[in-house]
Amino acid sequence: MSSANWPVEFLNRLITEAISVEHISLPSIMLWQIESHHWQQFAELAKQQNLRWVAGWAEHIEDRFLINTCFESQGIYVLLRTIVDVAKPELPSQASVYPAANRSERHTQDMFGIHFTGHPDQRRWTRHQAWAKHSHPLRRDFPVQGEPEAITPPDRDYPFVKAHGAGVYEIPVGPVHAGIIEPGHFRFLAVGELILNLEERLGYVHKGIEKIAEGRTPESLARLAGRISGDTTVGHCWAACMAMEQAAGIEITRRAALLRGILAERERIANHLGDMGAICNDVAFIFAHMQFSRLRELWLRTNAKVFGHRLLMDKIVPGGVLGDLSAASCTLIQKDIVQLRKELSGILPAIDLNSSLEDRLYTAGYLSPDIAAAYGTVGYVGLASGQDRDVRRDAPYPPYDQARFKVALENQGDIASRFWVRYKEINAALKLIEQFIKQLAAGDILTEWQTPSAGSEALGIVEGWRGEITAYVRFAADNKIARFYPRDPSILNWPALEKLTLDNIVPDFPVCNKSLNGSYSGNDL
C-alpha cells in the first residue's frame, strides 16, 4: 500500500473480512481494539499490506489481560489491542505470520502465563530457573520479591536444536564470555569451522525491570529507563519520558527538545566510534581500534565537561532536561565537531585502503534484505541491508521536525556495510548537532509536571543509536506507574544474528556479533 492514508484503506479491508474494530483515542497514536479470535487473522492481513511488526506486550488489569501489538508503515504507528479473560488466557499466535513476534510472545507467555496457540516455538524464553513454571512475575498477585531459592540453579535443560551426523559438533559459549561484555549463551552447530546453525539463549541479565517499574514516580521511572541499557541511556530515557509526557498531556519546550536532540546525537556518535574500533579489533586491526577508542574517550570527556556525565545518564527528566547549555559549552561542542571531522578524514581513508581489513569485512556476515525485512530489523543493521527506516525522518518528533539530514543507507548487507553505515550516521549526527546548536534560543528547559489521570497511557517512539525504541507507559492513580514496557531495538535485531552467521566460520563469529552489537540487558529486561 503506497498511500500515506493506509490506515483508512486497511480499516475498509478489515470490514470486508468481518473483523470489527473499536477505535480508542490515545495521544499521538491510533488504538484499534479487536476480538481475540481475530488476532492472527489481523496479522495475516497486516502482513499482506506490508505493515511492520514493531512491538508486543501485555498487561494484567483485574480479571483481564490486555494484549497489545504495535504495527507501523510509512511512519504511521497503530496500536492493536485485544482483551482475554484471566480464567482462559489464550489467543492465536501472530508469530507464525511475523517471525519478529516469536520471542516477544514467548516473553509474554513466561511473564503472564498467556498461551499463544499455534506458536511455532513453545519453549520458554525469558524464564530460566528463578521462578517456577506455573508462576508468572507480571501478574498482579506475584510479589515483587518472588519466592527465590537461596541459589538459583543453572538453566541446564533448555532444549537446544540438535544435529546428528558424522562430523557435526556443538560449541557451547557463555554465559560468561572471554571479553569485557555482557552475558548470554550461544550454541553453535558446526562442521569443521563452518557454522551450520547458531542458537541464542538470552535472558541471563533479566533484572525484572517491568515489574520493578510498577508503582514508581515519573522521575524514578526515568532513572530506571536510563539503566535499561547503559549505552542507550539517553535513548531509553527519552522514549520513557516522551510516553509519560504524552500521557500527562504536557509538552516540552523547544529548547528542551533541542538539548535532548544534542544528547541523543552525542550518544549515537560515542557508540558508533566505539563499535567501529571494536569491529576492527575483532579482526586484529589494532591501529583502528586504538584510534577510535582515543576519539571516543575525547568525546566522552567533552560530555563530562559540558553535561557532567560521561555517558549522559539522568540528563533527560520528565518534562524536559536537567542542566542547560552555556554559550561557552556550545562553542566547545562546535570546536569538538570540527576536530572529530578532521581526525576521521585522516583515519577513514587509511582504513578504506587496507586490504587485510577488506578481506575480513566484505561479504562476511551477510544479511539479505529479505531476511532483514522479515525480522523487521532496525537501525544500522536494517539500514545496511536496505531497510530504509529512521523514526527521526519517518515519524519526526521535536527537534527532528525542523532538522535536515540524510538517512544512511547501504544494500550490501555485510559487516563492511554495517561499518560504513555507522560512519555515515556519525556524519549525519555531527550535522544535526550543529543545526540544533544554531536553533537554540533562550527559554525554559523544564515544563511543570501535571499528574496524569489514572489509566492514561501513551507510547513514546524515538530513534536510539541502535534504531527505533518504543516505550509504553500507563499511569495508575497518584502519579504512579501501572505498566512500563520498553522495547529495545536489539529485540528486533538479535534474531538476525542467528541468520547472518550461517555459513560463516566460527572464528568470524565475534566480528559478526560486534557488527550487530545487540544489547543483552535491553533484550532481557
Binding site: 533484572k207 539503566r227 549505552d231 532481557d524
Partner: protein
Amino acid sequence: MLRLFKKIISTGVVTERCKVSKEEELEKLGIQIKRHIDKQFSGSIAIRQVDAGSCNGCELEIHALNNPYYDIERFGIHFVASPRHADVLLVTGPVSRHMQTALLRTYEATPNPKWVVAVGDCAACGGEFGVSYASCGAVSNVIPVDVVITGCPPTPLTLMAGLLGLMKDK
C-alpha cells in the same frame, strides 16, 4: 599503508601527555598502583571481568581503561579471558538470579589467592534494581567482596583509584 603510518606518527603517544591536571593525577595514581602491584603480585595482576547483570554502563568504562589515554596495562594490570588465569574478579551489576550460578562457578574457578572487586552502584548495593524475584542485589550477597568501587558508572579514574585501594589493603 603510508597514510596509516602518517596517522600513527601524527597522533603520537597520547598516553604520555601530562599537560592537564587530570592526566597528572592519572600518572601519579598509576605509579602508586604499579608499586603495590610490584610488591604484592610480582609485577602484574590479571583481572577477569564478570558482568553478572549490569546494564553495560560499567563495562563501557572498564573498556576505557584499555584506551590509549589510560592504558592500564603499563601498570601491570591486564584483563584475561579465563577466571583460571585471574588474580582478581571485577564483578559488575546487581547479580541477576539467572547469573547467580555462573558467578559462583566463575568464583570457584579462580585460583587462590583471589580478590573480588564489586564495580558500580548496582554491584555495591543493588542500585536501581535492588533485590527482587529476578535480582540478588549486591555482589556481596553472592560471593565475598574485598573492595567496592561505587559510581554509576565509575569513571576510569575512579576505577584506577579503587584498584589501588585493593592493592593497599592486601
